[in-house]
């Protein structure tokens, strides 16, 4: 068992070329903060990119940042903060949910997991912000794709292709991202007492308005007490975040109150509390309690989320909260994951996907962690994997079809 700790892209290339010649599968990790997601790996060797670290280019006025794959996300976010900028897709931190200390994770992991946060519904995910990559394929060949400019249609967008591939296609060594100005301020409007269906309607009205809502979540009665240290009183809370320049935020919060005020009692959270709340929503805080109970991350059409939960509850004990206007559902199971039932319901309600982001090892080994694909799509995905990694050396079987 060898743990490779390359310090340069050239060393990564050499290691993968060696793995090709020896047909030696590799587990690819950064900080290992998301190691618990996916089918369990049984590789003899590990390629640890945490020493391949450092921001190589940051030009705030050009809205661009490049970093080596092992650069801590925390370091990148600190550098951006110094210029009032950010990764606008608000990458979540899986650490707390998976029992890893918070604040870990690398640039490479951020792309490989296609991270996003509550702002996903307005600003997109990592895939929407990656501009270019340098990577080494499972063939042991270095390649680059994209560039450092936003508008670029020169050749296939392999950078997007690596987003969400969980290290199964190629090992990124350098990644270039679009960065954006951080909002001057933010406020969250909270509506109390709505049930899941009424909350879904309220969030749809808010998102369909000109208030430019950048976060729309519903925290049902069963979980609401675990947010902001129990600062919410009473039943469920439907929360809407408004960000931007001061006068604009004030105007838009007022607009939302006028649109939705008749639905229930309305309060606002100040900037500090609002930031805290959305970080907790982002990281699945209510379920990050050290327990190993299975947690699903489900994405469906926003209007169908509550219907899915309603139907699933008839089959299994589950605690949930909703982000992304109701389309992202975090579910914690009381017992087994009930993957087949859940996925049948998703298909029945117009499609989407469910990822079992947390489960004890034996459960993960027995359950497809990622959404199983229809046959033609699975075949295409397998052909793509074979083109990048014909010998199946990179994170073998981490995604079931790959």
């Amino acid at each position: 068992m060898t743990e490779f700790l390359p310090k340069s892209a050239e060393e990564v290339l050499e290691i993968i070329q060696w793995a090709v010649s020896e047909e030696a599968p590799l587990e690819i990790i950064g900080h290992g903060s998301k190691r618990g997601i996916g089918q369990p790996l049984q590789t003899e060797h590990t390629l640890d990119l945490s020493q391949l670290s450092g921001i190589t280019l940051y030009e705030p006025e050009e809205l661009v940042l490049s970093a080596k794959a092992g650069t801590p996300v925390a370091e990148i976010e600190a550098a951006l903060r110094a210029h009032n900028q950010e990764l606008a897709f608000e990458p979540m931190d899986y650490g707390p949910l998976l029992g890893v200390e918070p604040g870990r994770g690398t640039m490479g992991g951020l792309l490989a997991a296609n991270l996003a946060g509550p702002r996903r519904l307005k600003a997109g995910a990592a895939r929407d912000h990656v501009l270019g990559v340098h990577a080494v394929s499972g063939r042991g060949e270095g390649f680059k794709s994209g560039g450092r400019v936003v508008k670029n249609v020169t050749g296939y967008d392999l950078s997007k292709g690596l987003a969400g591939s969980w290290g199964t296609l190629a090992v990124a060594t350098d990644i270039t991202m679009k960065v954006l100005p951080a909002a001057e301020t933010e406020t969250t409007l909270c509506i109390a007492g709505l049930d899941d269906a009424a909350a879904t309607l309220a969030m749809a009205i808010a998102m369909g308005s000109s208030a430019e809502v950048s976060g729309a979540a519903h925290l049902p009665e069963g979980v609401v007490g675990r947010f902001i240290e129990g600062g919410f009183s009473g039943g469920g809370q439907t929360v809407l975040r408004v960000e931007g320049f001061g006068p604009s935020v004030a105007y838009r919060v007022d607009l939302l109150s006028r649109l939705l005020g008749h639905l229930g009692s309305v309060e606002t959270l100040d900037e500090a509390l609002s930031r805290r709340l959305w970080r907790e929503i982002r990281d699945g805080h209510p379920f990050a309690d050290g327990s190993p109970a299975p947690v699903w991350r489900v994405s469906v059409a926003p209007s169908r989320g509550h219907e899915l939960v309603d139907a699933f509850r008839r089959a299994a004990g589950v605690n949930v909260f909703y982000d992304w206007q109701g389309g992202l559902i975090w579910m914690r199971m009381e017992a087994d994951p009930e993957a087949e039932i859940l996925r049948k319901l998703i298909a029945h309600l117009g499609g989407g996907h469910a990822t079992l982001v947390r489960a004890p090892l034996p459960v993960r080994a027995a359950t497809p962690v990622f959404q199983p694909l229809p046959p033609a799509l699975a075949a295409l995905s397998a052909r793509l994997k074979a083109q990048f990694d014909p010998k199946g050396l990179l994170n073998p079987a981490r995604m079931a079809f790959a």
Partner: protein
């Protein structure tokens, strides 16, 4: 590109033309198959009109099942297929081939569903970009990406080209606004990617498909995100004595945390051509003109207009006007939007380039262009999506003068090389197509290109879909599949093994 080489026609396909036409009529009954020279003439080129080629036959299917049967039929018989939307490509992406079926998607022209609660529209690929906005504007919604050809270009073509527009910096490209597609692979497989939910299950094939220029699959349905129209929009028209000052102003606007809805720059020749043509009231004594459009709630727009004006003054702006009505804003934009035809009035022909550069390199690239302009003896006018660094130099030439087209093309290629040299790219939004195909090695190594072609191999291993586009040379997939094993020592033998 005048010496453009396309893949050699397959003689066996040409010989079987009558049989292929008859079989196409079985798959697509009625008026869906066009095979006379006269009728096919309309399809012999796209927006890059310097290149023309009659197709083998034109087929206009109406259903996904027909598309699937056509592709499967062609796949089994080794017949090439060129997909086409509205034919507005500026890079020859839909240029027919003599031995290829031209698959025209224009009869896929219906909007299938408007879903306001999920802010999604499901459309067939032949619906125009503007058609989507028209379908939802009565409820105050619109579809954000707005390529200048939006009145004609199709949403399926937008997916193929990852089309942009003037609002990209704030609202993103096609890739950021498409939620899902249905597509047909060359082997006839029908595949759905995404939908009304966010993010892909499995690999981000939607990301790979967007901007793949019709080489990976044929899009038969598109689901896009729609947005509520901003409450207000106001524009500033700002003149500078130099493009350096205008460029610095752009950098400082962004540095101040302001992302305008649109930010366009024109150079002296472009300003004067546009003003002569549309009389938008542009100042003629400046060397660079910025149009900065701010959109959002009234309170925000008014607040930001003041801040942008102050930044412009600090950077030496000599004129600055803020629009006070939508009519005035439209006049500000009229000159910019008419820049291409305006340049067309001062020159018999023009050749539009499409590189993107890091914004701060603008002065260097403009200076380089002036030198090239002298070298080639051809004039150039520049319009620039200043927010995102996408440059559209318009090279003025006269195709009737022998050798001038070639000279313009060489000039254009030199400009694109310059863009790559300063850290930019060959094409920002028009696509590679046939036009920039042979320049790809300026930006990519052989390994880079081979990895892209391997993606093609996963989707279309026999290279039957839109061959001759994007890649200077399509290596056979079998050849690319071979592994080159570098036998050697274990790297870092000094590492402890445990």
């Amino acid at each position: 590109m005048s010496g453009l080489k396309m893949p050699q026609a397959n003689a066996a396909t040409l010989k079987k033309r009558a049989e292929i036409v008859a079989d196409m009529r079985i798959i697509v009954p009625g008026e869906g198959v066009v095979d006379t020279e006269n009728e096919m003439r309309a399809f012999e080129s796209d927006g890059l009109t310097a290149y023309r080629q009659m197709p083998l036959v034109v087929v206009l299917p109406e259903t996904t099942a027909q598309v699937s049967r056509i592709l499967k039929y062609c796949h089994e018989r080794d017949i090439r297929v060129v997909p086409r939307g509205s034919g507005t490509s500026l890079s020859g992406g839909a240029l027919p081939l003599e031995d290829a079926v031209l698959l025209v998607m224009s009869r896929f022209n219906r909007i299938l569903d408007i879903d306001y609660p999920n802010r999604a529209v499901v459309a067939q690929p032949g619906v125009t970009n503007l058609g989507i906005t028209h379908a939802v504007e009565q409820e105050g919604f619109y579809y954000a990406p707005d390529p200048s050809s939006q009145i004609a270009c199709s949403i399926g073509g937008n997916v193929a080209e990852n089309s942009g527009g003037v609002h990209c910096l704030k609202y993103g490209l096609t890739a950021n606004n498409v939620l899902g597609i249905e597509m047909v692979l060359m082997n006839g497989d029908v595949i759905r990617l995404g939908g009304r939910h966010l993010d892909a299950e499995g690999y981000d094939l939607l990301g790979l498909m967007t901007g793949s220029e019709g080489l990976l699959g044929v899009v038969t349905e598109v689901t896009v995100r729609i947005l509520q129209k901003p409450e207000t929009a106001r524009a500033l028209l700002i003149g500078f004595p130099s493009s350096e000052q205008a460029g610095q102003c752009v950098a400082e606007i962004i540095g101040a945390g302001i992302i305008p809805g649109g930010m366009e720059m024109m150079d002296g020749p472009a300003i004067r051509a546009a003003e002569d043509f549309v009389h938008a009231g542009y100042p003629l004594d400046v060397e660079a003109l910025l149009i900065v459009e701010l959109d959002g709630p009234q309170a925000e727009v008014d607040h930001l207009i003041d801040r942008v004006e102050a930044i412009a003054r600090q950077n030496g702006a000599t004129t600055s006007r803020a629009s006070t009505s939508d009519e005035e804003r439209a006049v500000f934009w009229a000159g910019r939007k008419a820049a291409f035809p305006a340049v067309g009035r001062i020159s018999p022909d023009y050749y539009c380039m499409d590189g993107t550069i890091p914004r701060k390199q603008l002065p260097r690239v403009l200076a380089g262009m002036r030198a090239l302009s002298e070298k080639y003896g051809l004039r150039v006018a520049n319009v620039f999506h200043a927010g995102d660094g996408n440059l559209h130099p318009l090279i003025l030439y006269d195709a009737n003068k022998p050798g001038e087209l070639e000279k313009a093309e060489d000039f254009g290629a030199d400009i694109l090389r310059l863009c790559v040299e300063v850290g930019g790219v060959l094409t920002g939004e028009h696509g590679v197509g046939v036009e920039k195909r042979d320049l790809m090695p300026e930006m990519f190594t052989e390994d880079d290109l081979n990895q892209q072609i391997r993606v093609k191999c996963a989707f279309d291993p026999n290279h039957l879909l839109n061959p001759g586009k994007v890649f200077p040379q399509l290596h056979r997939c079998a050849e690319l599949g071979r592994m080159h094993i570098h036998r050697g020592q274990v790297p870092f033998p000094e590492l402890e093994r445990f």
